[in-house]
Structures are given as structure tokens and as C-alpha cells.
């Protein structure tokens, strides 16, 4: 199955500021879109626009050549979004948090224990997330991403709060996802070293 994410002529104005204008891209299965630029230059806004959460001044985002706003649910069933804020509940433990996500999104049926072990969080299952470090919480968010069965990954600053090893792991996971025919949009202000076809958008 191949998938395609594309956009043309995206313009977003927030209040008085024009964050981007006439922006376009096309991304096919197995490709990575890298959004570069310093903080506050509109990477997150572009990511949110791709996810269909912002109303754009002009242009549209297309999934398999159909505007995402016309098939919001289908589109949302084919993506996970690793946002800056993890969206996990501090009062609940890892299993409870992931269980919630399972009820909303198609699941890949991967071996859970193996995923936990790979992310190094297999011992944290019964602890409330509040008591984990920021890096560990981010790993739980990564587990959520891996357990979902979706072609499109939206990764907003995935390296935040992670150590060198964690960063390497994220890059490996992204490479594997691309190799399996997935698509990936990544916003990062650091250097990213991922093998595979990469499109870059430099944002001002």
C-alpha cells in the first residue's frame, strides 16, 4: 500500500504575523519531510496545519490526493502525532495511558513487551507517569506511536528531553518506519541523521 501526503500554496496568518506563505511539498511512502528552523518559526503551526487542526488562509493539505478536511476521520486514522506536550495523563500509569489510546486508534498488533523492552520502559508499567522523568515520559509517548498501525508519523521535536541514546533510538525507529513504507514528517532544530529520501523545508 502506498500513501501520499502533499500540500500546495499553504499560507497561515496568526494575528498580525504571516508564519508561512505559498508553502508546498509532496511526500510519498518511504520518505521523510524534515522541517528545519529555529524555535518559534512556525514548525509546530505547520505540523498542526498538516494534522488539520488550523484553518489556513490559502491552500490545502491532501492525503492520497483528497483534501484532509474532507476526510478528517480517515486521515486521522492513518497518523500519529508526537507533539511537544506528550498528551499523556500524569495521574495514570503507562498501561492505563496506552490502553486509552488503543481504544481510539487502529493497533499494529506488535508484541507490546518487545516494544516496551526496546524503549527501555518495561519496568515502569505500574508507576504513575507523574513520577517518571521527562525523558521516560517521552519514551512512553514513543510506545504509543509504535503500537499504532498507521502509515504517517508526525514528529514535533521528537528529541526533546532525550539523551544521546534516546535520540539514536528515535532515528532508528524512523528509519525502520520509512523502510516499511511509512511516511514521516519531522520538525527539529537539531541535526538529524536519517538514511533515506529526505525532503527539507527551511522555515524562516
Amino acid at each position: 500500500m502506498t500513501a501520499k501526503l502533499s500540500a500546495d500554496d499553504l499560507t497561515l496568518i496568526r494575528g498580525e504575523r504571516c508564519l508561512f506563505e505559498g508553502l508546498g511539498f509532496a511526500l510519498n511512502s518511504g520518505e521523510l519531510l524534515l522541517l528545519e528552523g529555529r524555535n518559534g518559526c512556525g514548525k509546530t503551526s505547520l505540523m498542526r496545519a498538516i494534522a488539520g487542526m488550523l484553518s489556513l488562509e490559502t491552500g490545502q493539505v491532501l492525503w492520497n490526493d483528497v483534501p484532509v478536511l474532507k476526510q478528517r476521520q480517515t486521515f486521522h486514522g492513518e497518523l500519529v502525532w508526537l507533539a511537544h506536550r506528550t498528551g499523556l495523563k500524569g495521574d495514570l500509569n503507562m498501561v492505563e495511558n496506552l490502553h486509552f489510546e488503543e481504544s481510539l486508534r487502529p493497533q499494529s498488533g506488535r508484541d507490546r513487551e518487545a516494544v516496551y523492552a526496546r524503549l527501555g520502559i518495561e519496568r515502569l508499567k505500574r508507576l504513575p507517569l507523574r513520577s517518571l522523568s521527562a525523558g521516560q515520559q517521552r519514551r512512553v509517548a514513543l510506545a504509543r506511536m509504535l503500537l499504532a498501525d498507521v502509515p504517517l508519523w508526525l514528529l514535533d521535536e521528537p528529541f526533546t528531553n532525550l539523551d544521546r541514546e534516546g535520540r539514536k533510538l528515535v532515528m532508528e525507529l524512523a528509519e525502520e518506519h520509512l523502510a516499511a513504507g511509512g511516511l514521516c514528517v519531522m520538525a527539529a532544530h537539531q541535526d538529524v541523521d536519517i538514511n533515506g529520501p529526505v525532503t527539507k523545508i527551511q522555515m524562516q
Partner: protein, 232 residues
């Protein structure tokens, strides 16, 4: 990836999951459930202290006081309906989930009602007794509160969704919701008064029921639209 495409869990799964998660959160933080109840009891205490303990007077104002207290305490708990989700980013995750947003909003509202409206209904007889409400009227009061709090939770979810993420959100929420909630209060309190005066009160109950059904079928859409707008 299978060729038939991945299966998105059904809408009841989404409804149940959001409700279950919020109930679980309420279980881990019982204060959030208990505080509005204490508030309810305290507002009910204020009136005898302010007006005086004359039994006839208390019996007369009882239905109104209980209903006003219920409305205010629901309002108190509404502010946190979407706030926690907004702050930790799970609201974003709900917005990009493949489930219909009105269903998820309904799930959250259901959990809100189960943790704020329902306890209120269950506690109300104790306070009604202190206001010398006749035993025959108490079930009517509970019924009106049951139907009324459903409507209030649903109406309130619209207001909470509109004000989530705004500074000064709490005061604004009251300003938005109180005028919308006035018909519910009016119907509820007067129905109980009618019942206490041995008058025919069924009109009020039917009207409250109709209001609850109408808000059940319309409010989730408004809430969903408001959530998308607030979170842009």
C-alpha cells in the same frame, strides 16, 4: 500493514474510553469530585444562616435554594472539564483521533456528569430533609435534579470548550453559562415547588426531560465545534 486497511475502533469504544479515562482520573483525585459536593452543602447552609431558621420559610425556599446550589456547584466543576486535557496536550490528541469528536466530547461530558451531577442528586435528599421537604416531594426533586444536571453538564461543556485556554476563563465561563442555564433552573425549582404545594407538576418534568434530550442530541456537536475553534 494489511491490505484491507487498519480497523478503526468503533464509536462506542471511543465514547467508553474517554468516559472511562476521566472516571479513572477522578478516582485518583477524589478531591475534584468532593469539592463541588462540599460547595453544594455549604451554599445550602448559607441560606438558613442568612434568612433565619424559621421552618415555614425554609420549607418555602427549600426547592429554590437546592436548585441554585446545584447550579453553582455544577458551574464550579465545569471549569476543569477540558482544562487538564488542554494543558497536558491530550486535547490535541483527541482532536487528531480518528473518532468523531462529538462522541469523545460526549464521553467526557458523561464522565463529568457521573462525577458531579449524579453525586449531587444522591446527596440532595440529606439537604432537602434539613429544609423540611416532605418525603413525598423528595423523589420529584431528585428526578428534576437528575434531568437538570444532565442538561447543565451538556450546556456547560459548550461553555467550557469555548473558554478553554483563555485567561480569566473561570469568570467568563459563568457569564456564558448562567443565562443559558436559567431555563433549567426555572423549570427545575418551580416543578419542585409545585410538587411541594400539591399542584400538578408533570409539565415541568416533561419539559426538563425534553430539554435533556435536546441538549443530549445537540450539545456534543456545539462542544466539538467549540473545541476545534478554541484549539486552533
Amino acid at each position: 500493514m494489511s491490505d484491507s486497511g487498519p480497523q478503526i475502533p468503533g464509536i462506542f469504544s471511543g465514547l467508553w474510553a474517554t468516559a472511562r479515562r476521566d472516571l479513572l482520573l477522578a478516582w485518583k483525585r477524589p478531591g475534584d469530585v468532593l469539592n463541588p459536593l462540599f460547595f453544594f452543602a455549604m451554599v445550602c447552609t448559607l441560606f438558613p444562616l442568612a434568612i433565619g431558621p424559621s421552618p415555614e420559610q425554609l420549607e418555602f425556599i427549600g426547592p429554590g435554594v437546592l436548585w441554585v446550589a446545584a447550579l453553582l456547584s455544577t458551574l464550579l466543576s465545569l471549569n476543569s472539564l477540558f482544562l487538564g486535557d488542554f494543558e497536558d496536550g491530550s486535547l490535541d490528541q483527541l482532536l487528531v483521533s480518528p473518532q468523531p469528536l462529538p462522541v469523545l466530547a460526549l464521553g467526557k461530558t458523561l464522565a463529568h456528569w457521573l462525577t458531579s451531577g449524579l453525586p449531587l442528586v444522591l446527596v440532595s435528599p440529606i439537604l432537602a430533609v434539613t429544609y423540611r421537604m416532605p418525603a413525598s416531594v423528595v423523589p420529584v426533586m431528585m428526578l428534576t435534579l437528575l434531568l437538570g444536571t444532565i442538561s447543565l453538564s451538556l450546556l456547560g461543556s459548550i461553555g467550557a470548550a469555548l473558554t478553554v485556554g483563555l485567561h480569566r476563563g473561570t469568570a467568563l465561563l459563568s457569564l456564558l453559562i448562567l443565562p443559558l442555564a436559567m431555563p433549567v433552573l426555572l423549570l427545575g425549582a418551580n416543578t419542585v415547588s409545585l410538587a411541594a404545594g400539591n399542584d400538578i407538576y408533570t409539565t415541568g418534568v416533561w419539559a426538563l426531560g425534553a430539554y435533556a434530550i435536546a441538549s443530549l442530541s445537540l450539545a456534543p456537536y456545539a462542544t466539538a465545534a467549540a473545541l476545534r475553534i478554541s484549539n486552533e
